[in-house]
Symmetry: C2
Subunit: 160 residues, 2 copies
Amino acid sequence: MATENALIDGALRNWHSNMDRVGRFFRSLSDDDLQKEIAPGKNRLIYIWGHLSATNDRMIPLLGFGERRYPELDLIFISQPDRAVPHNFAGEAIGDMWGQLGDLLWSEFAKLTPAEWLDRHQAVSPEDFEREPHRNRYAILLGRTTHLAYHLGQAILVKR
Amino acid sequence: MATENALIDGALRNWHSNMDRVGRFFRSLSDDDLQKEIAPGKNRLIYIWGHLSATNDRMIPLLGFGERRYPELDLIFISQPDRAVPHNFAGEAIGDMWGQLGDLLWSEFAKLTPAEWLDRHQAVSPEDFEREPHRNRYAILLGRTTHLAYHLGQAILVKR
């Protein structure tokens, strides 16, 4: 049991460290900064922060933690590319959601036992999970951590 | 034991998936493509691929798997920024190292028991590890996986 918990602790530390880096980076920016593109013609910073917030929101039902808080984010930040859907989100509004979602996920993570981490996530059917037991909550945690890092690497290209 | 192995399996799958994405992306590029910058004035693709290769090479001693294979990469791709040290590495040469290092690490990973994953890595002293047991091999695996994703997110900004 100590071994299991230490392995989960490692993954949680990696999640937390990336969440922290993303949050500190975006919170340091002005609304003008957030309108900048990561590269010519590519996503703006505000889009990336909204996209990562929406992704975190989607983790709530995916991991069985309850209802989504901000499903309206999807249309703007997930299902459409940047600039396709006009919106008025400023950094402060995204920052509030970011903080709330981060707290919620972190407190739910802490309640899971190792066996619960290895339970299926909600996007895989019981039948498919029988054949593919690696499609569990832990895989979502690891995959969403690399997703944070993937977009952080892009965002950081914008110097203020 | 089943739980421990399933958790490690999850982290290994995440590593492998990111290694695979990085390898496929860079191998699809010509030497001309590899000279492109990820954004104006930023690293060239060849530098990022060399940097990730050097990072993988450094994992060999860090995880106790033996001697480095390509320590000469550090001067060009780690300790100095892009363009500081002239070099003649073409995509094929980096690709060969990339493949060899990936195979070596993957075969060494497979030999480790859960307890060995939780052993200290070689950049932390036994005394420090006593106080900070999370500085283990597993943390390196997780951290290097997010490092791959971080730079993949940047590299992918370059359309051919």
